[in-house]
């Protein structure tokens, strides 16, 4: 595995491999000294063209747990306006000698475009609407551990609710969940779905709420109203929001997940603390382990995880 850019590109075998590796990383994270020398001497550069505190911190912590050196290149909008092209940015950093780029960009496809300008490994921390594969990894890992599904997700009913059209999280999750055998249903109005969809669609949360094993809520952004995609957030919540009334009808074992940050009162209209099945904080914790797995898989040739740094 040279890059980790999308679930589709990685494939089912690669996906399972990374999830198994994440188990070892989770074990490392439970040690009194949660640090191993596996990536000592390697440099990982976070190049974030879009703001993201939580993902960036998560990658930084993952790299440090593996003893890699980290660099942060936060590209503000103003420096882009000064005319430094994407190519120049990547080539400049590559020339400093990084082993891996962790890239987040508002435009789909950037992790593929940069391949021509660097030999370093490329990890996609989110590109436009297209993919957010480490999010999908941590989501799979969370379901795997919380529902004790180490082998496969066969027969697992997962509902993804919300703005799928603009969501890289949704695209990567749909790919990963179906690759592992789950039955995925999308719950959204037509205006929030991509033009072509090849998984089943439900037109309201009520259609799936009593029959779901995992309820995955996507963030519903304010901007979507100005684009005439939904008439109002209130109408969105009435058809698709996880209200206290709907929460009461969830199966007892059902997991409730969210990629964060949450729009309280919109897609989730109940305090997660009152939802026994909510695993939203576990998702964040698991994010470290899966990102360590990705970094180790791409950069840790031959090193072992036994010794402590």
């Amino acid at each position: 595995m040279k890059h980790f850019r999308s679930i589709e590109e990685t494939g089912a075998d690669g996906l399972v491999r990374l999830l198994d590796l994440a188990d070892h990383m989770a074990e490392v994270n439970r040690r009194p000294n949660p640090k191993v020398p596996a990536l000592r001497g390697k440099t990982v550069c976070n190049v974030f063209f879009e703001d993201s505190t939580r993902t960036r911190l998560s990658f930084e912590m993952a790299a440090k747990r593996l003893s890699a050196d980290t660099m942060n290149f936060a590209v503000s909008q103003s420096s882009l306006n000064k005319g430094e092209s994407l190519r120049d940015t990547i080539e400049t950093i590559a020339a400093m000698g990084v082993d891996a780029f962790v890239i987040r960009h508002g435009s789909s496809g950037v992790p593929w475009q940069v391949e021509q300008w660097t030999n370093a490994a490329v990890i996609n921390a989110g590109d436009g609407w297209h993919a957010h594969p480490t999010q999908a990894l941590l989501d799979c890992y969370t379901i795997r551990t919380a529902l004790d599904r180490q082998q496969s997700f066969d027969g697992l009913k997962i509902a993804i609710v919300g703005d799928v059209k603009h969501s890289r999280v949704a695209r990567s999750d749909i790919a990963a969940f179906t690759m592992l055998g789950a039955d995925v249903t999308l719950v959204a109005p037509r205006t929030l779905l991509p033009p072509f969809v090849d998984v089943p669609v439900a037109i309201g949360l009520d259609d799936v709420i009593e029959n779901v094993d995992v309820l995955y809520l996507l963030r519903m952004q304010n901007e979507r109203m100005t684009e005439s995609l939904v008439p109002s957030l209130r109408e969105y919540t009435s058809r698709f929001g996880l209200t206290p009334e709907r929460a009461r009808r969830l199966p007892e074992h059902a997991l409730i997940m969210h990629p964060g940050p949450m729009n309280r009162g919109v897609e989730i209209a109940i305090d997660p603390a009152e939802l026994p099945g909510a695993v939203i904080t576990q998702q964040v914790t698991n994010g470290i382990a899966v990102r360590m797995a990705v970094l180790f898989e791409l950069l840790g040739s031959g090193s072992n995880l036994e010794e402590n740094a």
Binding site: S85, S107, S108, G109, W112, G128, R168, P194, P195, F196
Partner: protein
Amino acid sequence: MSNQIAITGGTVIDQTGERRLDVRVADGSVVELAAGLSSSDADHVIDASGCVVSPGFVDLHTHLREPGKEEAETIETGSRAAARGGYTCVVAMPNTDPTQDSVSVVEFVRRQGELAGLCDVRPSGSITIGRQGEQLSPLAELADAGVHLFTDDGDGVQDPLLMRRALEYAADLDIVLAQHCEVKRLTEGAVMHEGDCCSRFGLPGWPSLAEELMVHRDIELVRLTGAPIHILHLSTAGGVDLVRSAKADGLPVTAEATPHHICLTDELLAGYSSLYKVNPPLRTMADVEAVRAGLADGTIDAIATDHAPHAPDTKEQPLDQAPPGMLGLETALGVSLAHLDMPLADIVAALSWKPAAIAGVADAHGRPIEPGEPANLVVFDPNEEWQVQPALLASKSRNTPFVGIDLKGKVKHTILNGTMTVKAGEATR
């Protein structure tokens, strides 16, 4: 006789038919056609064995970028690329800076083309001032200055009333309006064709409907006003059907298609390379097949390149920020012969005399190859297979999607008004 060229051993293909004859050119005209012509007095002898000798190609749709974007292409470099592609005439698109909406700009473009001396550059005019879609350009004044084709290309005229007025006004003048059919409100932010691929790639899409709606609108406006219209870069199966019906109804509608729309599809955007980003976008195989069928049955009259050079640094941006467009002049013949299952004479027609008629240059280009006719000719090998080498392109830019693809058909010599502009594949100046 001065500047005599003898073309021997070739097969002449023009609108009158196909025949194995030698051709003598002198003083800017074709002077003799016969078998076994003597070449002893000729200044240049062209051995055209295995080659076709046809009227020089006419491109209805070329972006020469000058004035305004000379870093991408100039009228000189674009003319050179045209000549190497077998073109003796190109219609220069008006989305320059300043726009070709005044006699002074149009005259500048025409003059630059004349100075370059590599191709007959005919500037088009914009339909509206600044291509803003609000006010009509001085159509009659520009027509008097020699402009025949008018378009807001880069954009379509969005306002149906304005388009109606433009057609009504144009009906009295011997000009043709050409439309870039795109309903802008349906394509905001779009980067590629709207379909299964864009959904997977996470990119906003350009639905076929955005083209079809304007094609339909303009056909009906033509029905109402009686003025002719030419549809630029037709790319959808639905659009081809609409034009077919319009022609069956006897309406004065013509259409063109680009070489890239006869062979490339939206799947190619999987690698997110901006080389494949173009307006209208690459669509599905079904659309490609419909465009090919449209060319084969005459629904689509002409192959037009939509040659759109962009400086490399502008294309090396994220896909949604990169400008749309691809080079086309130097690969049009090679792509057309490789991908169109049509009689060679019909392909030559779509490259030369049919676009010549639409461009209003049929008095000089696309002429029958007969004594007395102006010598605007191309000699090409219809069977030679070759691949593009970007470094050897005459264009100033390099944004061609055809690198590494087998092309069929290579231009050997181009003759403009009896003077060789391309000799053995290389420009003469």
